[in-house]
């Protein structure tokens, strides 16, 4: 008598839990780190709220200085990378270690861990790239961490319409914007580097299996957290 196991669409832990917390230690460590990161970003966001709503001078209107459509696309890119990350997690949980596999009767191919993690890395790297381009353009137009550079295009606009461009609070606007988005960008960069390391040392040599894929779950938690923080930052910094 043979036995077949049905595992599709059911999630199981990637590794047996250790006594105590009820999860394996790597995952517990990542959650504790994320809890500390919540405090870190809250300190930044909290300072921003206090500074922004504490000043009596008008703050720059949304879209006056920053390129909101470009960042909205970048936000979507990060959300897509979160989906591809979770698809990578689901793929290895189902034992799909391969890149792409043809599915009989279907046009689309079935992606495995190698495919979805690569998509995540590309989306993450693209996010950092777009943010760098945004920074270069902003600094080029005269928006720096210390406000609007004298003689720049933005300084001229701000002089013509100080309310729309928040000329009086430009220094605070610049410092809070570059600090918050810069630290988030640093987190994304660290995530992309970590994923690239995992890809070449663990994923390509097929060291993960449906019985043990701790690395994918742990890096996934970090990546989704980075996405979550950006969702909040995008609203607070770009839209409000």
């Amino acid at each position: 008598m043979t036995q077949a196991t049905q595992t599709v669409d059911v999630m199981r832990p990637p590794f047996p839990a250790e006594p105590g917390a009820g999860v394996y230690s790597n995952k517990l460590g990542m959650w504790v780190f994320l809890a500390s990161d919540v405090m870190f970003f809250t300190a930044l966001i909290g300072s921003y709220i206090v500074l922004r709503f504490g000043v009596t001078e008008p703050w720059a209107k949304p879209g006056a200085v920053l390129n909101v459509p470009l960042t909205a696309v970048n936000t979507f890119l990060l959300i897509c990378s979160s989906v591809s990350m979770v698809k990578a997690y689901a793929a290895i949980a189902d034992g799909k270690k391969y890149f792409l596999r043809a599915v009989p009767g279907k046009l689309l191919r079935d992606g495995g861990l190698k495919f979805w993690l690569l998509v995540t890395m590309i989306c993450g790297a693209a996010f950092v790239g777009v943010q760098l381009v945004e920074y270069i353009k902003l600094v080029g137009h005269g928006f720096t961490p210390s406000g609007f550079r004298e003689g720049s295009l933005l300084a001229e606009h701000a002089a013509a319409d100080p309310v729309k461009y928040g000329a009086a609070a430009a220094g605070m606007y610049g410092s809070t914007f570059f600090t918050m988005t810069g630290f988030h960008g640093f987190h994304v960069t660290c995530g992309v580097i970590s994923m690239t390391y995992l890809y070449f040392t663990k994923v390509l040599p097929e060291k993960y299996s449906p019985q043990d894929y701790r690395g994918i779950e742990v890096i996934g938690l970090y990546w989704h957290f980075v996405d979550l923080v950006w969702i909040i930052l995008f609203t607070i910094v770009y839209l409000i």
Partner: protein, 97 residues
């Protein structure tokens, strides 16, 4: 004879594509609300923050699988939130005073 033994020891996998679609629609609505509406500023801030928290919850609950985790793990993630609220409130109070 072949018998099938389901190994249902975990939980049902969420529909990730549906969550992605939710996030996409919410982002579009959020950006549109910020630019196209004539809602008073205070209400607009509340609405935008509501959308942001909604999206963040979707990511935390379904992508980070917090919905399916044990309570002790959820608590680890939730503990900093009241602490953060105290931090922000204290900073605002100091500014106000």
């Amino acid at each position: 004879m072949t018998s099938t033994t389901p190994t249902i020891t975990g939980h049902k996998r969420p529909n990730y594509i549906l969550i992605w679609l939710y996030l996409f629609v919410l982002t579009v609505v959020e950006v549109s609300a910020a630019f196209l509406s004539h809602i008073p500023k205070k209400w607009l801030i509340l609405i935008l923050l509501f959308f942001a928290v909604w999206k963040a919850l979707l990511v935390a609950l379904f992508f980070m699988h917090l919905k399916f985790e044990r309570w002790r793990l959820r608590i680890i993630f939730m503990i900093p939130l009241p602490l953060a609220a105290i931090l922000v409130t204290a900073a605002i109070m100091e500014k106000v005073w």
